[in-house]
Subunit: 680 residues, 2 copies
Amino acid sequence: MLPTPVDSGNQEPVRGGGRGNLGYMVFQLEALRPRSLGLGLRSSMFGFLGAELDLVSRVLEERFRLRMGFQLGWFCVELEHQVKELHGDCHEDCSNWLWLKSSTWLLCKGKNSGIYLLVKTGEACLQLPKMRLSSSNLTSEAHEEEQQCLNSELWHACAGPLVSLPAVGSRVVYFPQGHSEQVAASTNKEIDSQIPNYPSLPPQLICQLHNVTMHADVETDEVYAQMTLQPLNSQEQKDPYLLTELGTPRKQPTNYFCKTLTASDTSTHGGFSVPRRAAEKVFPPLDYSQQPPAQELIARDLHGNEWKFRHIFRGQPKRHLLTTGWSIFVSAKRLVAGDSVLFIWNENNQLLLGIRHANRPQTVMPSSVLSSDSMHIGLLAAAAHAASTNSRFTIFYNPRASPSEFVIPLAKYIKAVYHTRVSVGMRFRMLFETEESSVRRYMGTITGISDLDPVRWSNSHWCSVKVGWDESTAGEKQPRVSLWEIEPLTTFPMYPSPFPLRLKRPWPIGLPFFQGGKDDGSGFLRYPENVDQVNPQSGTFVKVYRSGSFGRSLDISRFSSYHELRSELGRLFGLEGQLEDPQRSGWQLVFVDRENDVLLVGDDPWQEFVNNVSCIKILSPQEVQQMGQQELDLSTEQAISLFYFMICSPPSAECLVEGGGTLPQDLEVGRMWPPLIPAH
Amino acid sequence: MLPTPVDSGNQEPVRGGGRGNLGYMVFQLEALRPRSLGLGLRSSMFGFLGAELDLVSRVLEERFRLRMGFQLGWFCVELEHQVKELHGDCHEDCSNWLWLKSSTWLLCKGKNSGIYLLVKTGEACLQLPKMRLSSSNLTSEAHEEEQQCLNSELWHACAGPLVSLPAVGSRVVYFPQGHSEQVAASTNKEIDSQIPNYPSLPPQLICQLHNVTMHADVETDEVYAQMTLQPLNSQEQKDPYLLTELGTPRKQPTNYFCKTLTASDTSTHGGFSVPRRAAEKVFPPLDYSQQPPAQELIARDLHGNEWKFRHIFRGQPKRHLLTTGWSIFVSAKRLVAGDSVLFIWNENNQLLLGIRHANRPQTVMPSSVLSSDSMHIGLLAAAAHAASTNSRFTIFYNPRASPSEFVIPLAKYIKAVYHTRVSVGMRFRMLFETEESSVRRYMGTITGISDLDPVRWSNSHWCSVKVGWDESTAGEKQPRVSLWEIEPLTTFPMYPSPFPLRLKRPWPIGLPFFQGGKDDGSGFLRYPENVDQVNPQSGTFVKVYRSGSFGRSLDISRFSSYHELRSELGRLFGLEGQLEDPQRSGWQLVFVDRENDVLLVGDDPWQEFVNNVSCIKILSPQEVQQMGQQELDLSTEQAISLFYFMICSPPSAECLVEGGGTLPQDLEVGRMWPPLIPAH
DNA sequence: GTGTCGGCCCCGAGCCGACAA
DNA sequence: TTGTCGGCTCGGGGCCGACAC
């Protein structure tokens, strides 16, 4: 029996023509940032797609070849037959319906003889029942995948809420500097001898991520990931491949609990006291007709080992306890008070069990294999060699040991470095993991922008931002961060049209400018021409632009209504009477909010507007009309730039973490959205 | 109070002139190979020294700077004042008597205002009472040193009888190839990706060994050593520095025992059954008036941890047992039946305790720090970088994991590569450690000589000898060995004079020929011109040489006395009647024995001579006279070559291991010898 | 001389509810 | 609701000599 392609609601997937699937793809991207739909970008985007159809089509095919995963659910795309020929690793049994497979996608023939690509992620395969794969041939494979997903879920739970892994097949930026920092932290030794120079090794290396496997240390259960990277040569970098996958953190499982162990939990005197809500939410219900109610729980750890516990509800007052089996687990995992355990009840009705050792002064075992100096040299030499030969190399990423992620999605990098303007004095916020393994934001101010190591790694974006933290208790936080780790509270959107902020240089095809470090991208960075007009940001000053005029800075707190604002802007820009009634005059006001979204002025309640406005743009009737038309006069470079910007814009954090509350009501997470209907 | 220089018997050390100390040094070297004194080399050596005094003087000063250790006892040498300036790390308190110090030597001012250098080794500091250091300032330092010696003794006991560490300050040869093999064994992963080429990295690197520290794995107690090496540049290699230290294995402690644990020893059911002889030899005697006799033993492991055991003598029949405390030790060290423990009772009345895990299938923990490929690249890149910059680098040597030692004394290397002739078909023996941690010899035959890895490591001496083993049970032994690991049963001495075997090329100053691999030293290697005359070695064929004539091969077993031999040699070489009475004719016969010593024919009983003779040389009266004279017509190159040969010749194993039984009666081990009196 | 085992003791791992924060 | 503790129990850690190889 052939697998039935997942339908999009009640709709058959678009077929024929081979290009018809574009709607799906772009829509998927759009789905991550619904708010940006607010100002007609939808139509301009389709104008763009119409103009650059061939280009983007090739990009999307490349994307498939790279086996990129999606964030949510299964998606099905019909492909042209010739797409198959792009795949080098076609299985021998092409006679079968299953043509190509990997752990994240399937290429198969549908009942209508169309070719379908099924793509999934670990997240997805937990959410979807197995009946989606109706062929019995897939049983064992599905089981393997299940196992993998199980581990993936547990791995991410142990790694913490902030940790993300780039998707297999995607493009990433690798920072040898950050890798070196991890090795220093892991070996507890800074570089203490002369290290050779590797002139061919730039501070950041654009790579294709060929493989990611999740592991856990046999001794300590500490999670780490192994990644196989392949640096792209300059030609490959010039290719206008699609950049996607911002590497958003996995959603934490819902049916789980995490408890920090008490002295009683870890003593030999007794068992483990399970918080009542946790036990009721995560463990299978007890048979309360028994006296006392008790059952045996079997949980699997990251290595697949089974642990059996007696779960009993007893005592006066009654409480949930794990007794028999618990102390064996405690001693085997060498748990002490302060460490944490987490239980997950997954969709397959399996109980998963992970541990997270407290950040106790780690007894770093000195490696007796290789000196730390040789390790540092090794990682640099391996990366340099791989870069010069475009060959693969393998690294380990240890999220609990590494100060920062040193392999990040290319899109995230581009977004942060080329589409975000930061400057000294700017306020920002940054996510940190709390003691309780949840997330909270800390606020800070940028105090400087400079190379962390100007001698060895000049022009590096790694930790190039010097920061001060608001809270005195945050004194132990790092004094330097990287651009992509922070959310500037006031940013200036860098995408070209519809804003007439001209690029000093056109955006080059692809990304050849990476190779030489950030200087090559200077046309896009590090101040606006009118920066000296701006007061140091009471935090209520807002820049206002008008085409053909210089900008002004405005204390938005001076105003109490949209009307006052419109009136004053009209006075400032010599447009008295034009801005009060857009319907009549044709002049429009739009603004960029703190999440880089472009919105029409006037929709929000005034106070919310004041809190969120980042900068304001005055659009002439001609500009407004231009935006409303399908055809925008975009150069190819600008079109690509726009496309990059769109797909690089992260979904708002709330949207992802808190479960899509800001999504439109009719759009469910995990369900296919209908394709957009192009204008005309 | 100033320290009193150690006197040499009743003799004051030679002072003044700065060169007067040469006698000491050379004598010390001679002490290691007393048998070579047999044929007047003593005098020829002094002739050589007379001619090359300045040269050797600089060599010896360099030796001090390099902090080389001695084999036996403390030695004291008076130095010129300006020697002090050679030291870069002079302490600030030069006003004090203590000028410079390290763990192996002291530079100080004596009561006569002379400057003295005290040098010692770990061996020595156990053998000499502390009263040698009369300054109370040294108490804590001496204690530290004691601790160090304690660990060193235990470390070597755990490492096994075959393991030796080159002396600090000595010159060594480092083999990246062998290092790579250790990393492969430790990570359990062969190189599986492309490794960059390092054209500047030769297969062997001559280094100065700056530091050696002994360690034990915190988790497994496995012993390993950390070494800091500095490659010598070509200029330094040209310098005729002194080569010493063959890296003889440490003498195993005498008061110790090693027992392989039984199932009963490791079960929780009981304690540890101590073999009776072992207990009586190693443990303090019990008070047998008690009933039952018992005591508490406190033993220290490699980390300095104390372990307490109840030692009791009970049962029927009576036996020695360790009870209380034993099971804690077993579980802490994760010992199982088949592992071994060893107890040492040292000279300071301390009980030392080490473990040696059986060679069970090791659960190699995958390192989560660096990929094994990067590790391999790292060790190569680190060595290449150090070689090109003459900077220091650090390596770990794990004697139980590494197939072979990959840092060996330079002298050992020279001896094996340039002073030993091997060829296919040659018989050899090689030492192996037995299950019981003792040593036994295995015999084999050389089946080939070639590069192990001709592509990456051409012209490497590492494992260049293909061998077959005699015993079928030795099938699992390595199929390749390095020259310095084997003892060829028939060797041809390669030192030049007094044998008129001309060098095809003069020996270059220093060792520049190393850099280019073995081919550059070909003038000295791998066949003699008459090799095709030699039958494949009943084992009684001996080569005979005479200046100006071709050699002959002789079945020595055909003869039954010296007289028969002399008569036949006279006939063969046209010297009828000349060889029977050397006193009258002036013609002399000398021979080289299996230990490469040059001896006069006729001293030994006939049968012993037959058993030991390797080759015979006929000396004309002129040659004999020449040797007897002080002035030998040696070129500088030949002189240095001779000097190298002498100091590179290993002491006979019996001499060292069994305590100097072959030394002259009046020369005590651990005492200073009087300087030799040069002729004239 | 020493490896293994049955006998036996007793300590502490571990289950229980009491109690209080 | 849950962390800690006293009480109690029982299994196995661990000491003993018997016995056999």
